[in-house]
Amino acid sequence: MIVIQVKALYVFAENNCLLGPISFEIQSGGVLIVMGETGAGKSLIIQAILGTLPEPLCAEGEIFVNGRRIDDLAHAERTNLWGREIACLPQEPWCALNPLMASWRQVAETYRYVANRASRAARSETEKRFLALGLNSAEPRLPGQLSGGMAQRVAFAAATAGQAPILLADEPTKGLDSDRQARVLNLFEHERSIGGALLTVTHDASVAKALDGDIIVLRQGQVVERGQTENVLVNPKADYTKSLLAADPAAWPKAPTVEHGEILLIAENIAVGRGSQILVDEFSLTLHAGERVAICGPSGIGKSTLLDTFAGSIKPIRGYIKRAEELELYSVQKLYQDPPTAFPKYISLGRNLRDVANLHRVPWERVLAYLDALSLHQNLLQRRADEVSGGELQRLSIARALTINPKVLLADEPTSRLDPITQKDTLDLIARISSTESIAVVLVTHSTEIAKKWTDNIVDLAN
């Protein structure tokens, strides 16, 4: 039985076509994966189906849910479908929970008002659901008191409590470590086994591999390739699909190892933490010039705190960090997880780079040469941080660091917000710069896969 059918869907921004034409149908128990990099228009499909496209955008085409055409319904009638016919699991679902409401209440609310159960029935349904999802201890707790994985299951319970046959999931695994990723995929499998149809948007090839169904590869709003997952993923036809799959860390070639130079930084048995809480204890590391070290472990284990300690922003609670004498005051630089937050919000990027260059008496030509070497166009300098793509901005922050000849580069998940192709390019670039300029790099990542491919020297904080 066809649960959802989309015929020749377009999305326009005034006269610009952002997406389309795209047509697909999903059977009951079926899966459709829409894959593509950021800006390909993946989320637009979900918004067009829900009817939540932001103001200047409008959709054209026909959308059928259970044989009924829904795209020409009035807005109020479409909102009636939400939760009952179409459920949506938002990106980073823990942000979608009410932080002031006990977990079970948020789920019971859906049973009560979306599924129209009596309040006692809603309560008992919620209890059953929590038990099934392994959340029995979470019921009275507020979302802030739950672990990330638990909060996500609560959000999932709330989204699916209305028993909608269609589940739309927008980047359901974004920012999750591999353990939690597997749990989300398990939930999806369960949804399918009871006859739900799943439409998921992702840029992660490993997610597509784990879910078996149809796949559409999207680039700049155009369908590049489509078919069964096993065909497309094993035997891609389009060049774009090939590069997308090659960007999956599992498929990366191993980066070459390099010879180490002199010692730059020694950490001896340090304990680090925030306030009086110790996160990492008895940690030792010797950093040589040109060396690449990866620190990995699940979120919240103290990776970033460790990095801040190396940067000198916080002091170790115990132990000491020794810097080599030739290390100057500003020889340790940092790359950030979210590149826009590492630049001033209200002034142009050029102004920021000029400030740095003037301060350290670096000729402006040299800054431009670095930009050129990182294939960044000079036009970017007139823009502000929020007007530049994440990948370009991360390269720009590498260029900014290079301006002042750093010896140590501390990279805090520098690519976790970038799409896979950009992620691979950026990490390759960092590795290349590290060997040519003999800069020591400490990479913090939650992906052991990336760490393994990027360096031999891995510190796993989980063990």
Partner: protein, 204 residues
């Protein structure tokens, strides 16, 4: 009458503008100082601001006026002393958020000096909001001057001041209500336009 009204406007508005300067500049600077250094500096400054806030503004002015009855400077000092807290609280709050962003750590690692951090990061962040605080502060100052004049603690007659004029015209309100209405309308229009100007400032 018109001349007296205009003269009153001159007095109220110049007091308001002056108090924006003398309350706004130290309030903003202290706010940045508290957010920047945190710790003990922050605690001392915040408790001081809370202490001032705990005292009703008019009471503080009344106390100062009691020391030097009818003088212009006591009125002015009292208004400034109560208004700086608003600037301080606003600036400290916003600056604390901005200063905890990665961009600031990046700037420090790059060696950018403090004045560039204030100029490039803090000023554009808190500037527009400060204008709003200033407009509300001016409105508060205008009301305070009139209120004090009305209860005969602020400016003394024969100086033309809206509050003082209201007191003077109060006995005649039955015979000639439009007389007392004039300073009232002036006051309402001034305060209202200051408040509405905030809406205009908020627009990009």
């Amino acid at each position: 009458m018109a001349a007296r009204l205009l003269s009153g406007a001159q007095l109220s508005l110049s007091l308001a503008v002056l108090s924006i300067l003398t309350a706004g500049i130290p309030g903003t600077l202290l706010g940045i100082l508290a957010a920047w250094f945190g710790g003990l500096t922050d605690r001392i400054l915040t408790s001081f601001a809370d202490a001032v806030l705990a005292l009703p503004g008019l009471l503080l002015v009344l106390m100062l006026a009691a020391i030097s009855p009818g003088s212009w400077w006591a009125l002015y000092a009292g208004i400034s002393l109560t208004l700086w807290v608003e600037y301080f609280r606003y600036t400290r709050q916003r600056a604390r958020i901005t200063l905890s962003e990665p961009a600031i750590e990046a700037s420090r690692l790059l060696g950018l000096p403090w004045h560039l951090i204030v100029l490039r990061h803090l000023a554009p962040e808190i500037g527009p909001g400060l204008l709003t605080v200033a407009a509300f502060g001016a409105a508060t100052a205008v009301t305070a001057v009139a209120a004090l004049g009305f209860v005969s603690v602020g400016v003394r007659p024969p100086t033309a001041e809206w509050g003082v004029m209201m007191t003077e015209l109060l006995p005649y309100w039955r015979e000639a209500p439009f007389l007392i209405l004039q300073p009232i309308i002036c006051l309402v229009v001034t305060v209202l336009s200051l408040h509405l100007s905030v809406g205009g400032l908020r627009k990009p």
